[in-house]
Amino acid sequence: MKKIDFHIHTVPTISDAHFTFSLEKFSEYVNTAELDAIAITNHDMFDLGQFNDIAEELDCVVFPGIEINLDKGHILVISENANLEEFHLKTKAVTEKITAVGDSISVDELIHIFGDLNNYLLIPHYEKKPAISGDTLDQIFDFISAGEVDSPKKFIRMAKDDTDITPVIFSDVRIRESMKKFPTRQTFIDCGDLSLKSLKFSLRDRNKVALSKSEGNSLFQVFDDGQKLSTGLNIVIGARSSGKTVTLTQISKDYGNVKYIPQFSLVQRDDANYEKEFNADVARKKSVFADKHLSPFKTILDDVLNVDLGINRRKIQDYLDTLLKLAEEAEKLDAFSNVALFNETQFEVGVDKVLSELISSVRQLIENIEYREIIDKHVDLNNLKDLACELIELLWAKAYERKKKSFVNDIVRDVKNKLQLRTSATQVKDVDLYKVMIEHKKVLKFNEIAKLLQTEKMIYEENFQGFKVVCKQRPFKGPGEIKNVSGQKVAFGDAYREYSNPYKFLVALKGNEALTPSEFYKYFACIEYEILNKDGFKVSGGERSEFRLLQEIKDAQNYDFLLIDEPESSFDNIFLEGEVNNMLKEISKTMPVVIVTHNSTVGASINADYMVYTSKEIKGEDITYRRYSGHPSDKELCSIDGKKINNFQVTINSLEAGEDAYDDRRGGYESIKN
């Protein structure tokens, strides 16, 4: 197996923060990491002079390369270490095209510059930002040997997927003078000689790449001192202050996108506070859920808010009263009340929605691209255009008529008002019966829908690892509940008396100026969001912590690592042995999980893939921190400097407080059992 790192920066460009390159550091990196081959890949440029210096100095195979901005993604183009002048000229053409942050070249330009791409090793950013994706990737797919990823998790996922391309993981490091730690992201590749041709051949086979030299993809190097971890489930054991938590924080610092659950973070220190926090979390989720559930109701309510049945009733009453009075006075009409306009009504000038919608539909038929063929098969485009024009002409004519009628309405109103001032005769009050009736219907529908919303029923249920998330709708039981939902210091007592009649209730809410109409939709039905335990009861304090731990672990799916520090400090063994161990096992199939523990239920029962024993060793005045690691079944664990330690002894000491204590306890249990 050869160890390679084909993504290394040695020149700061416009795409980097400034750094000072150090050839000495570079040499140190290649030697410590024991690299067999590297590639120099600066952003959109190739420094031939520097390359020659590096190639001469380093004790490994060095390939010339360039990282190019291709259609807003990045791709590594690596060349054979020959014809450097020609490669230099080609890369210069790239440099000339990319002069500002955000510039990129197209695939056509790439091919125009480099000619036959088969002569190069092409590695796009794949599961790594900024990725080459979509069309661009399709265009160059035949020339791609592998795709670059940025975490062991993504590497393994692609390595297992036969339909995907071969993954590679590289450091993407800036070799700077001030470097203190070296990167650990490199790829092992099974190939004969280290030529570009041989590498490309090997990369075609996903089984020829790995995260570790001899353990395939089951182990990967986590620290620059050579420390490895499993890509599955790891446990870290050891005495107090021997470096367990340090190990976790170091991983958390070295890698991005890590889910770290620190020790005691989920413990219930302050009961009242914790419950408040938990409830706030639940309330947030509830509010999101309630808004989603109530959003259609809100639309209706916003419409009904403008309806005032009281005013409508008054208008009808006024109309009837004045009509009857006028009939009585028929004999007494004077010059003013006797003219036709005195009791003239208004023209109806509503907007013709149907016609506007019809025009929009025809427009869609004309302009639609997706279903063009089908439309063209049945209807002639020119006919559609003629239809659209005719409809628009009709719309104009109607709009023109409407405008004229509005104008007449103005005159009628004006004359009527002036006549009214001069006579004691009764003028018939106008009323729009159509509007009155429509609004009446709206209110009936609104009442019906609001009542449905107030029917007690389950609207959502989710089972989650022995817990149950339940959402219910039900009527409010009293004004206090509505007040809580409103979050305001306003009394709802008066309004609540009308609660059983939704429209009347709405009118009462409108009457209270302290309330905001845009919030009214929340006051009609109570949406409950509860987390219940497996027995169907509200969760207790301890169960709340359990629920949160499980949620945190579930959330880890969105990260590249999961680190947990002593989960046992907050939970009982039955819970740990059951749900927690199961979830950790499950999630470790897709990503590296590292658990620090003293607890045998976690440490011994979980069947980890790999274990690390941390040790603080004192010799005279010297203190050395060591990590011994190996598989749980190994007789001995080894440190990276070659020291060995008995696995059984350290495990039983760490997890069971020593062999004697373990035997004692077992004896104790046996005697109770008998």
Binding site: A335, F336, N338, V339, A340, L341, E344, T345, Q346, F347, I359, R363, I366, K385, D386, A388, C389, I392, E393, L395, W396, A399, Y400, R402, K403, K404, K405, F407, V408, N409, D410, I411, V412, D414, V415, K418, L419, R422
Partner: protein
Amino acid sequence: MLMTIGEAGMKALKIENFQGHFLTDEGDYETVDKIDKAILLRLVNLALEDNFEIDNYDEGELKNQAHQIIYKSISEKLNDLHQKRNQFRDESERLYLNEYEKYKA
């Protein structure tokens, strides 16, 4: 001789014998106390034509106070509309104008 509506010389509103009159569909004249909204709409149509003409309001010429009120209001508004008749039409035809011009081609 009968003249067609809107033809030069036929006033839409006129004052005669101290009374206000409007031009009917048949080309006759009726007193303004008979005007209803349908008649008004017809007068509005006349005001939107180019050759629209009326007698201007004159309080001294109208004895009947009801006629004064009606004649004043209607004559002023129709005159105003006649001045702005092009703008009045344009506003209605601005709807979907881009589409119309695109498809008409």
